[in-house]
Symmetry: C2
């Protein structure tokens, strides 16, 4: 599946904040409520909620409400998309650098 540019924009933006990355790391250990996610941060609950809204809009996390408790879960596939974006670039950059090496090696052999 190819990611829409807007979806990648949202995902990179969501990860551009260390508190949000901290929440992603916490969710990597299992689902958590807003209160559990807020605990390690010295932030007001509305600020935590704002970060979680950004994360959910990016597709990196998903939430569900059961009674009065909203539980957040990581969407691992989303990180897979980012991983693919980076891997594709790494592969093509290495190729262009390989081509450059090859070209330089040929240049050297030319008398």
């Amino acid at each position: 599946m190819i990611m829409e540019p807007a979806a990648l924009d949202r995902m990179f933006h969501a990860l551009s904040d260390r508190s949000r990355r901290g929440m992603v790391d916490r969710l990597g250990r299992g689902p958590a409520s807003v209160m559990e996610l807020a605990r390690p941060f010295s932030m007001t609950l509305p600020t935590v909620m704002k970060h979680l809204t950004v994360l959910e809009a990016s597709g990196l996390v998903h939430s569900e409400k059961n009674g009065r408790v909203r539980t957040y879960r990581l969407q691992q596939e989303a990180l897979g998309h980012l991983d693919r974006w980076i891997s594709e670039r790494k592969a093509s950059w290495n190729m262009s650098f390989d081509r450059l090496d090859h070209f330089l090696a040929e240049e050297e052999q030319t008398p």
Copy 2:
């Protein structure tokens, strides 16, 4: 080398814009001047410069001025940091999901 949270913030922020990702892709094929980088985009030169400043501040690209021409180059190591950040998370998430699978399998075996 461990990346400072602020450096990761800047790198994710730099990639949260599709025009900047397009410039990174262009530089993946080799160094380029501001004019070359601006060509595929329907943007004013000051806007292009603003994007390049964000990219350079993030460490993803580096520029050098020779005479009147400023040339931009990709800093491949920077992408390596992002790649490592994602790989570490993928590894630890898979581990916690493996633990969950193991736990569920044990549960099933309990009569």
